[in-house]
C-alpha cells in the first residue's frame, strides 16, 4: 500500500517528519517498505510555454521550439511533436538534473544549439509514458518549479500490509493507526450528496439472488456526467499510489477505493439492460469478457453481477467490457457492495486475476462502509463531472451482521504479554483504534470490534492489539522460568559424528535437491526397472526437472560432480546426508536417512604423485564410517549392479541386511556425465549404521607378548580377500589376535589368474606368554585349511 503524505494528513493532523512517523508505525502496526521523496533527483526543471514551433533546417525528425520561461524566450531542439503554441511544458534548463542522474547542458543538435530540454513524463519518473512531452495544466505559472506544479514535493510511504488487515489497504486506515499512535484525532468527513434527480427506483432495479455470496448490494444512479480526464491533483495521487489515470469517473471510484479501502464499480447505465442489476451464482461454463479483454469461463461458485439479460461483471473482481464506462458515458449505475471473502478469493485464485478490488474483498471489506463509499464517489462526481444524483439508494442487505462482543480478561492479558498494564490504559488503547469498549469491570472488558476489523474475533486478538499499541519495544525481555534439560538424542549425536568423520576423510558436504528429474535415469542409460527411478511424483510440479522425490542420494551427487567438472573444477570430493523416499504402505511414503559419497577427478596432493580416485577410496570412506561408529560386523560382498563397474563394486552388508553399495561408477555412466577417470562412489542407509554403532568401552591392554607369523596364500583372482582372510582366521584358532593383509601380488610367481595375498597373524594368550610351538602348530592348521580349499602357500 502506497500512501501520499499530503493525503494522509487530510485525516490526521500529524506534524512529525514522514520518515519518523513511518518508522514508528512499522514498530506498532504495519511494516514499512520504503519512504520515497517524489521528484527526488529533479532540479532546475521549470514551467515554460510554447511560443512557436518551426522545422529544423537539417533534420526532419526534430523541430525548433521557442519557449517562454517567464524570464526569457529560448530556443530548444525537440524530438516530440505533441504540443502547440500556448501549451505549458516542463523545461529542463541548462544545469538541471533529472531522476537517474542525467544532467542537462546546452548542446548542438544537427548544428543548432538547444538551450535546454523539454521533458516527457518518463524523463521525470512520473510514469512510463514516453510518447510525447508532458503537457502541464494551463494555469501552471511560468518559471515555477515543476516539482511544485506536479505535486512532487510530496512523500510517498509504502507499507507491506499483512493479509489480516484489509482496513490498512486505505489512506484513511493508515491515518487511523497514525492517529492512535501519535495521540492525535482521526477525522474522516462524511460526504454530503445533494440528491436532485428522480427516485433511483424509477431509474434502475437491484435483485440479489445469491445473498450468501453478496450480503449487501447498494446502487446509486448519477446522470448528466461529463467524463473527461480527472484533475491533476487526483491523477498525481493515483499515480503516486501506483494506479494509472483512465477517465474521471473511473479515477474517482479508484480514488475512493484508495481513500477508504472500499472497492466500487461504475456501469454505463445506457449499456445496462433493464436497467437492472441481478446478483446471482454463475452458471457452470458461463462466459464473460472482462475489462482486460480476456474471456473468462465461470463456475457455479462464482458470484456474478448481471443485468436483465447477461453477465456484466465478475463480482468483486473485474467488470465486463460490454458495460464499461467510456468518454461518451453520461449516466452511470454506481455499485457499492460487500461480497463473501472466501467466494471472491476462490474465484480470483481460479481465474488467476488479482485486482485492487479482489484483494480487498477477499481479505474482508467493511459492510458498513458501503453507503459512505458510494456517497463519497457521488460527492466527487458532482465536483468534477457535474451531473445529478438520483434520489435515494437501492440498498439490498439480507441481514445486518450483528457485532460480536469479545471479553477481555485483564489479568490474563497482562500475563500473556508479560507486563502489567492498567485496565484503563487497555480500554483507551482499544478505543483509539475504533474498538467499542462497551462495559468494563474490575477484571474484564467487553469489547466490540469495529466492522472494518474482521480480524478481531477472540481475546488473543485483543491481546495483540494491546501489545502492539503498548509497543513491543517496551515489553521487557524475560526467559521462561521452569528448569529443564535439553540435549541431543543418541541418533542426533551420532549423525553429527558421521558428518565429522566424513569431513575428516577429505570430503566436503553437499546439499542436493530432494526433487529430481524423471528423465535422469534415461540419461544415465538405466533399465526400465531400477532403484534410481523414483516412484513418487508430484501432482503439480513447477518443472519436470524437479518433479520426482529422490529415491537415493547418489544421483544428486553425480549431477553436482558433473556441474563441478563442467566448471573446470579438477577435484570433486563430496558427501551428503539426507532423506530418501520410497512408496510406503501407509498414506505417507517411507522416508529413510541415507549417506552417500563421491570422489572424482584428481586427488588433491599435487606433486606427491597425482593420481585419480578408485574403488579403494570408496571403500576407505566406508571404513572410516565403520571405524568412527565402532561397527564390527560389516562386510562387503561382490555384487552385480548396473550403476557400478561390474568388477569393482560390492554390496554393503550389515548384520545380514543389505544396506548399500560401494565401488566405482560404471564408466558408461561417468561418460554420460562427462566425468573423466574413475569415479569412486558409495551410498548406505544411515539408520542401520547408527543402530549398530557401539558405545565406548575401555579396551584391555595386553600384558603378555605376542608372536607374529606371516603367510602368503596363492588363490584364484576371484576368491575374494575377505573370504581368504576369514578362512585363515578361522583355521588359526582361538589364540589369533589379528589377521592383517599386508601385501597383494600378481605376477609370474603367483601364476596366471592367481593372486598372492600375504597376511600377518598375531598370536597372543591373555594369561601367559605364548610358546613358539603353539604358534607353529596354529600356522600348521592354517596351511592345511588353505590346502583343503585348493589354494597354495607361497614359499
Amino acid at each position: 500500500m502506497r500512501v501520499s503524505w499530503s493525503w494522509l494528513r487530510e485525516f490526521v493532523p500529524v506534524e512529525a517528519a514522514p520518515e519518523d512517523v513511518a518508522d514508528r508505525l512499522s514498530m506498532r502496526a504495519v511494516k514499512l517498505e520504503r519512504v520515497e521523496q517524489l521528484g527526488a533527483g529533479i532540479s532546475g526543471v521549470i514551467v515554460g510555454a510554447v511560443v512557436d514551433v518551426r522545422p529544423h533546417p537539417q533534420a526532419d525528425n526534430v523541430v525548433l521550439v521557442n519557449v517562454d520561461t517567464g524570464t526569457d524566450v529560448r530556443e530548444i531542439v525537440c524530438g516530440a511533436h505533441n504540443y502547440g503554441p500556448g501549451d505549458r511544458v516542463p523545461v529542463a534548463m541548462p544545469g538541471a538534473t533529472l531522476p537517474g542522474g542525467m544532467e542537462i547542458s546546452e548542446r548542438a543538435v544537427r548544428g543548432i544549439t538547444s538551450h535546454g530540454m523539454m521533458c516527457s513524463a518518463r524523463e521525470l519518473h512520473l510514469s512510463e509514458d514516453h510518447s510525447g512531452i508532458l503537457i502541464l495544466p494551463p494555469d501552471a505559472p511560468l518559471g515555477a518549479d515543476v516539482r511544485t506544479v506536479l505535486g512532487l514535493d510530496d512523500v510517498v510511504i509504502e507499507f507491506d500490509v499483512t493479509s489480516n488487515r484489509p482496513d490498512l489497504l486505505s489512506v484513511a486506515g493508515i491515518a487511523r493507526e497514525v492517529a492512535a499512535m501519535e495521540g492525535l484525532p482521526f477525522r474522516i468527513p462524511s460526504p454530503s450528496v445533494p440528491e436532485k434527480g428522480a427516485a433511483v427506483s424509477e431509474r434502475a432495479g437491484v435483485t440479489v439472488k445469491d445473498a450468501k455470496g453478496c450480503p449487501r448490494y447498494l446502487a446509486r444512479v448519477i446522470t448528466g456526467l461529463r467524463n473527461g480526464s480527472s484533475p491533476g491533483w487526483m491523477q498525481r495521487r493515483l499515480v503516486a499510489a501506483g494506479m494509472r489515470p483512465i477517465s474521471a469517473i473511473v479515477d474517482i471510484t479508484n480514488y475512493v477505493l484508495l481513500e477508504r479501502g472500499h472497492p466500487l464499480h461504475a456501469f454505463d447505465l445506457a449499456k445496462l439492460d433493464g436497467p437492472a442489476i441481478v446478483v446471482r451464482r454463475a452458471k457452470k461454463g458461463e462466459r464473460i469478457t472482462t475489462l482486460d479483454d480476456v474471456e473468462r469461463v465461470l463456475e457455479s461458485d462464482d458470484v456474478m453481477i448481471c443485468d436483465a439479460k447477461r453477465a456484466v461483471a465478475v463480482a468483486g473482481i473485474m467488470g465486463g467490457g460490454d458495460t464499461e464506462v467510456s468518454t461518451e458515458t453520461t449516466d452511470i449505475l454506481l455499485e457499492s457492495a460487500y461480497f463473501d471473502p472466501q467466494r471472491i478469493a476462490a474465484t480470483a485464485r481460479r481465474l488467476g486475476l488479482r485486482t485492487e478490488a479482489s484483494v480487498r474483498f477477499e481479505r474482508g471489506a467493511d459492510v458498513e462502509a458501503v453507503p459512505g463509499a458510494a456517497d463519497r464517489v457521488c460527492e466527487l462526481l458532482l465536483e468534477i463531472c457535474g451531473g445529478t444524483v438520483a434520489t435515494g439508494v437501492l440498498d439490498v442487505m439480507a441481514r445486518r451482521p450483528k457485532p460480536k462482543p469479545v471479553r477481555l480478561d485483564i489479568a490474563r492479558a497482562s500475563t500473556l504479554i508479560g507486563v502489567s498494564i492498567p485496565a484503563a490504559d487497555m480500554a483507551s488503547m482499544l478505543g483509539s483504534i475504533g474498538m467499542d469498549v462497551t462495559s468494563s469491570s474490575r477484571t474484564s472488558l467487553r469489547v466490540i470490534p469495529p466492522s472494518f476489523r474482521p480480524d478481531v474475533a477472540i481475546e488473543e486478538d485483543l491481546v495483540e492489539e494491546i501489545a502492539r499499541l503498548y509497543a513491543y519495544d517496551r515489553i521487557p525481555e524475560t526467559l521462561p522460568t521452569g528448569g529443564r534439560t535439553g540435549g541431543l538424542t543418541r541418533d542426533q549425536r551420532l549423525r553429527r559424528l558421521v558428518r565429522r568423520v566424513l569431513l575428516g576423510t577429505g570430503l566436503s558436504e553437499a546439499q542436493t535437491l530432494s526433487l529430481t528429474s524423471p528423465s535422469l535415469p534415461d540419461r544415465l542409460g538405466l533399465p526400465a526397472e531400477h532403484a534410481w527411478r523414483g516412484k513418487l511424483t508430484l501432482q503439480t510440479p513447477l518443472s519436470e526437472e524437479e518433479s520426482v522425490l529422490r529415491p537415493a542420494l547418489l544421483p544428486g551427487l553425480l549431477l553436482a560432480a558433473e556441474r563441478n567438472i563442467a566448471r573446470r573444477v579438477r577435484s570433486v570430493a563430496l558427501f551428503e546426508i539426507g532423506t530418501v523416499f520410497a512408496p510406503g504402505n501407509d498414506i505417507l511414503p517411507k522416508e529413510g536417512l541415507s549417506v552417500a559419497w563421491l570422489m572424482a577427478g584428481e586427488m588433491p596432493g599435487g606433486w606427491h604423485g597425482e593420481r585419480g580416485y578408485d574403488v579403494f577410496d570408496a571403500t576407505g570412506v566406508l571404513h572410516a564410517l565403520t571405524e568412527g561408529l565402532g561397527i564390527g560386523d560389516l562386510s562387503v560382498e561382490p555384487s552385480q549392479e548396473v550403476v557400478f563397474h561390474p568388477n569393482r563394486n560390492g554390496l554393503v552388508v550389515l548384520n545380514g541386511a543389505r544396506i548399500g553399495q560401494v565401488g566405482e561408477l560404471h564408466p558408461r555412466i561417468a561418460r554420460a556425465l562427462d566425468i573423466p577417470g574413475r569415479v569412486a562412489v558409495g551410498e548406505v542407509l544411515l539408520n542401520p549404521m547408527l543402530a549398530a554403532a557401539r558405545e565406548s568401552v575401555v579396551p584391555e591392554i595386553p600384558r603378555f607378548p605376542a608372536i607374529e607369523r606371516d603367510i602368503a596364500v596363492i588363490v584364484p583372482d576371484d576368491a575374494g580377500a575377505m573370504r581368504v582372510e576369514s578362512v585363515v582366521r578361522d583355521a588359526a584358532g582361538a589364540l589369533v589376535e589379528s589377521v592383517q593383509l599386508f601385501d597383494v601380488y600378481r605376477g609370474a610367481q603367483a601364476g596366471e589368474g592367481q593372486v598372492s595375498l600375504a597376511f600377518r597373524l598375531t598370536f597372543r594368550h591373555g594369561e601367559r606368554t605364548l610358546t613358539d610351538d603353539e604358534a607353529t602348530s596354529a600356522m600348521g592348521s592354517v596351511t592345511s585349511a588353505v590346502g583343503e580349499r585348493g589354494w597354495r602357500v607361497r614359499e
Partner: protein, 347 residues
C-alpha cells in the same frame, strides 16, 4: 726371557699400529677393516693369546694383562673413532637428503561442511543450551499436521496446489517444519521446549531469493505462564548468540495464522551494524525470523487447554540466516555444491 720381551714388544707394536690405523681411518668401512686387522680372529694379537698356554705362570700373567689392556685400549679407540666417523657420515648423508618444507603437505586435508549444516547446528546449539531438545519428523506430511492443526483452514491460500507441492490428495511435502511441533505436542504434555530443524518445500521457481527446497529451524515453548516477554527474551538472547552481542534486535508486529500476537524479528545488519548499506537496503536492519504466541486454536487442536498453558513459537529460514551471516547474495549457490564455494566454509 728374551722370548717374553719379544712378545711384549710385539704387543706394543701391534697396539701402536692399530691405534695409528684407527686414527687414520676416514670411513666406517675402513675402521671395520682396521678392527679385523687388530683384534680379529686372524690378528697377531689373537695368535699371541692362543700361545699363552705354553708360557710360565708369571709370563702368562704379564702377557695376558698386557694383551687385555691393549685390546681395551684398541676397542676404546675404535668406539671413539666410529662415533666420529658415523656422525660425519650421517652429516654428509643428511646434506644430500634435503626437503623443501614449503612444498604442499602430503596429508589429505579435511573437507568443508555445508553452510546450511553449520548454521543449523549453531542455531540448534543455542537452544539446546537453553534447555530445548531437538525434534524431527517426516518431510512428507498430511494436511492435518501441515495445516489444520496450525489454524490454517481448508481455504487458506497456502493449502492450494499453487504454493504447496502435493503428492496425492491431502499428502504434501511439508511447507514448514511446523508439523513436527504439532507431533511433539501430541506426543507429550507441557512443559515442552523443542527446536525443530529440517528441510521444507514450497512451489517456488528458482531465482536469487527463492528455492523450491529450503531449510527451516522452528521452535516451540509451551508451559504454564509463558508470556510474550519470554518470547522476546529468548529470541533476543538467541539473536545475540548467533550474530554477536554487539548487534541489536527489534520486534515488529506481524501476522501469522498460527500465532497471536505475532511478531517479526529484525537484527541490525551485521555488515554495517545498523548504519545502512546495500546488503540491508539502507535500512540498517535485516529480517531474520517470525514468531508469536501460539494461537489458542492450535493448542486446542492438540488437546491442550489455552486457559491453562500458553506458549510461543518461532521460525526462521536457514538459507536466509546463512545469507545474512555470510553475506551470500544468491540462494541457488547453496544447492549447486560447487567445490570452490564449499571451500569457503569451516566450523
Amino acid at each position: 726371557m728374551s722370548d717374553i720381551a719379544g712378545l711384549i714388544q710385539t704387543v706394543e707394536r701391534e697396539q701402536v699400529a692399530a691405534l695409528e690405523r684407527i686414527a687414520l681411518s676416514t670411513k666406517v668401512a675402513e675402521l671395520e677393516e682396521a678392527e679385523i686387522a687388530a683384534i680379529g680372529r686372524k690378528a697377531p694379537m689373537s695368535a699371541l693369546k692362543r700361545e699363552l698356554g705354553g708360557l710360565s705362570e708369571e709370563d702368562r700373567r704379564t702377557l695376558g694383562r698386557l694383551l687385555n689392556d691393549a685390546r681395551l685400549t684398541i676397542e676404546a679407540a675404535l668406539d671413539g673413532r666410529r662415533g666420529q666417523l658415523q656422525a660425519r657420515e650421517e652429516e654428509a648423508a643428511l646434506q644430500h637428503d634435503s626437503a623443501d618444507i614449503t612444498l604442499p603437505p602430503r596429508l589429505r586435508a579435511p573437507g568443508h561442511p555445508h553452510p546450511i549444516s553449520i548454521v543449523i547446528d549453531r542455531i540448534v546449539d543455542v537452544f539446546v543450551g537453553m534447555g530445548y531438545r531437538v525434534a524431527e519428523g517426516p518431510e512428507v506430511e498430511t494436511d492435518f499436521y501441515s495445516f489444520e492443526a496450525l489454524n490454517m483452514p481448508a481455504d487458506h491460500p497456502a493449502r492450494s496446489g499453487f504454493d504447496t507441492m502435493y503428492l496425492s490428495e491431502g499428502v504434501a511435502l511439508r511447507p514448514h517444519t511446523s508439523p513436527v511441533q504439532v507431533r511433539a505436542m501430541m506426543e507429550q504434555s507441557p512443559p515442552i521446549y523443542v527446536v525443530v530443524p529440517g528441510r521444507c518445500y514450497r512451489r517456488d521457481s528458482f531465482d536469487a531469493s527463492h528455492s523450491p527446497v529450503f531449510h527451516q529451524v522452528e521452535g516451540l515453548a509451551v508451559d504454564r505462564g509463558i508470556s510474550f516477554a519470554d518470547l522476546k527474551g529468548t529470541l533476543a538472547e538467541f539473536a545475540r548468540a548467533l550474530f554477536g552481542p554487539e548487534e541489536r534486535v527489534r520486534f515488529r508486529p506481524s501476522y501469522f495464522p498460527f500465532t497471536e500476537p505475532s511478531a517479526e524479528i529484525d537484527v541490525s545488519c551485521p555488515t554495517c551494524h545498523g548504519a545502512g548499506c546495500a546488503s540491508c537496503g539502507w535500512s540498517g536492519w535485516l529480517e531474520i525470523m517470525g514468531a508469536g504466541m501460539v494461537h489458542p486454536n492450535e493448542l486446542r487442536a492438540v488437546g491442550y487447554d489455552p486457559q491453562d498453558v500458553s506458549g510461543f513459537a518461532f521460525g526462521m529460514g536457514v538459507e536466509r540466516v546463512a545469507m545474512v551471516a555470510y553475506g551470500i547474495k544468491d540462494i541457488r549457490q547453496f544447492f549447486e555444491n560447487d567445490m570452490r564455494f564449499l571451500a569457503g566454509f569451516a566450523g
